[in-house]
Subunit: 394 residues, 2 copies
């Protein structure tokens, strides 16, 4: 008896000015004193932080601030946040930023609501029993953390990047204003689009023999929408409708919808990338596209019909050539899309050049992180991972 769960309780408020609702949303979720968590300068410079504070003030919500989140958010800041939130009797985490800030906020939420070392959850030593409620004002469409149950933190001690997944951390609300993403550098926008696409792709290319037609149709519709609008944004970064498409796609891509009733997907591209960005601090989206094609070539013979279907239904590949050949063309077409938005398709294009010893180290760490073997299209062991990293050198 196999049961599937879908649980996406986040209340989404979407559109221009959504951030003005923050105070009301926090209050509706029972928050009285929030940890206002954010990254660096742009949230301050753009005036967003002030607007959010004004909204909190209007609704009588007290706050303490903790800025300084960096991409691939760090455990040390999480620990400072836990301490601060405890000292200040915070009852709500409000993340204003992108996925790194939300992930960091979730980690703080776990830390405050449970005793002991929060890293325990990320390295699988124990499970969280609770999490402070987390709300998000999103400034970057990418990770889907605003509706997801996952959080990824980097431990500077060994530069280990690890994720923890638990429904307790699904944000209670997400304020999504596509305008807030308009001033992003083109590279970050493209990285975000790549990440969004990959969240569905990781689920869609799976080892499950009984995928729902409905889940496939939703996944394909989402991927086509991301591909179309990522190209629009490369040419016209200020296109509000395209920003809106990408932002909503980002939330739906990682909230469970596009993997419903599957085996939950493969995720090895993500695992391989985590070691890359853990070691070289590259942008997550770019790291994903840099390794995806090599992963795909390595494993596609196990499910050529899924790769072929991706090609025909999402990438405009002509059907009829047989699954193997269509799969090959699908991988080329996907890489062509990545290049069309200036995303790398190899480590060389990503700008990193690991030594042979570093490749081995990444493979070791990756195998460790997945408990020896991982993946659903094809179960990969440490040697498979090393082979894919080598293929990805370019």
């Amino acid at each position: 008896m196999e049961l599937f769960q879908y649980y996406a309780p986040t209340k989404v408020v979407f559109g221009r000015g959504a951030e003005e609702q923050t105070g009301e949303l926090v209050r509706a979720c029972g928050g009285r004193k929030v940890l206002l968590h954010y990254g660096g300068g742009s949230v301050v410079r753009s005036g967003l932080l002030e607007r959010v504070k004004a909204s909190l003030d209007r609704w009588g919500v007290a706050y303490v601030e903790l800025g300084g989140v960096v991409p691939n958010p760090r455990l040390s800041l999480v620990n400072r946040g836990i301490e601060l939130a405890r000292r200040e009797s915070v009852d709500f985490i409000l993340a204003v930023g992108g996925g790194s800030t939300i992930d960091s906020g979730k980690a703080i939420g776990y830390g405050v609501a449970n005793g002991g070392d929060v890293w325990d959850f990320y390295c699988g030593r124990r499970k969280a029993a609770a999490c402070l409620p987390v709300g998000a004002v999103l400034t970057l469409a990418a990770t889907g953390s605003e509706m997801s149950n996952s959080s990824v933190i980097t431990n500077e001690d060994g530069w280990l990047k690890r994720g923890y997944t638990n429904d307790l951390s699904r944000p209670v609300f997400a304020a999504l204003n596509p305008e807030l993403t308009m001033t992003l550098p083109a590279y970050q926008t493209a990285c975000g689009c790549a990440d969004i696409l990959m969240h569905t792709l990781e689920r869609y290319l799976n080892g499950c023999q009984t995928n729902l037609q409905l889940t496939d149709a939703l996944a394909e519709g989402l991927m086509r929408t991301v591909i179309r609008n990522a190209k629009v944004l490369r040419e016209t970064p200020q296109d509000y409708p395209a920003r809106a498409e990408i932002m909503w796609a980002g939330s739906l891509s990682h909230n469970g919808l596009t993997g419903f009733c599957t085996d939950n997907g493969d995720w090895m591209t993500h695992k391989l990338e985590h070691e890359l960005s853990g070691m070289f601090d590259v942008a997550h989206g770019a790291g994903l596209t840099a390794v995806w094609g090599s992963w795909a070539r390595y494993v596609s013979a196990r499910r050529p019909e899924r790769f072929a279907r991706l090609g025909v239904n999402v990438l405009g590949v002509e059907p009829g050539a047989g699954d193997g050949e269509t799969a090959r063309q699908a991988i080329l077409a996907m890489e062509g899309f990545f290049r069309s938005i200036d995303m790398p398709t190899s480590l060389r294009e990503l700008g990193v050049n690991p030594t042979p010893a570093q490749l081995e180290e990444m493979a070791d760490k990756c195998a460790l992180a997945v408990g020896g073997t991982g993946g659903s299209v094809q179960k990969l062991n440490r040697d498979d991972m090393l082979a894919i990293y080598r293929l990805a050198m370019g």
Copy 2:
């Protein structure tokens, strides 16, 4: 500043045996004593009710029973349920059945959690401030009530059928076991498929000029899936994968996803049907298909491009003939689909033959229900409604 909301917090447990989780799900949502609400014989005969009770027992959840829900559920039973639930200090409503049972359960939930006459909410005299938590074990894929915020009740005093929409009533969980729908009569299965299709169609055919591409893609994928699998079930009622497709489509079709960032759709087919089934007690899904084509012909000139898009992207109509002609073909194709699953496309085929006075009465009531005018593709007044009812006579 227009803001859109998406809020679908229901925890879905999906697959064979999902009902075995009922007790655990109720407890996880804080329920200690439930009103076990259901309809008639099949839930008892099939053994489902006993399995649900056993699950409640295993988890130490007490219950009182209230059966007897009928299609187009009645206010009188709702009032009995409110009285019973109050007397027994029930803290959770557990609906085991189809949409009528869940809708009736939501109404009881409003009644218990608020003072005064529960009908007030349905006729728009006041808004609910709370609702007891509602959980659902679904036996019929159709209304989407298991994830929706709406509930439709018929007041026998005047046979007024009215809906009330409030996020407070979104079920906290839904146990979805496609097997439970396998023994449905073919007519009920087809009515359910029609209802599911219509929940997305009502949203998709709208007056909004800025529909999200993503919402359209999801809606089209869902409608194609329903059409394909409704045909499978006509031939092979015991096809589990097709039952699963239809069941999940039913939940997604009415949880807000396929109308996100639109003007929330037209809904006049539903409003016109409510008067039909209020007066003649016909099956809701059949009532919808009986009037849809007439509504579509009456209004399609206002948004021929939407109807044309429906034809091309969902119904396999060849593009290229111009929006007006493609729209005409789309309406014919949709009616062809309805007939292919033995659903009526006119009142005559539905088996009702209203007198001219009854047509006038339905138009009067329908106009009253929508506050004079209603609809988004085209605002319809009482005379428009009468004209559509007359067209639908067949």
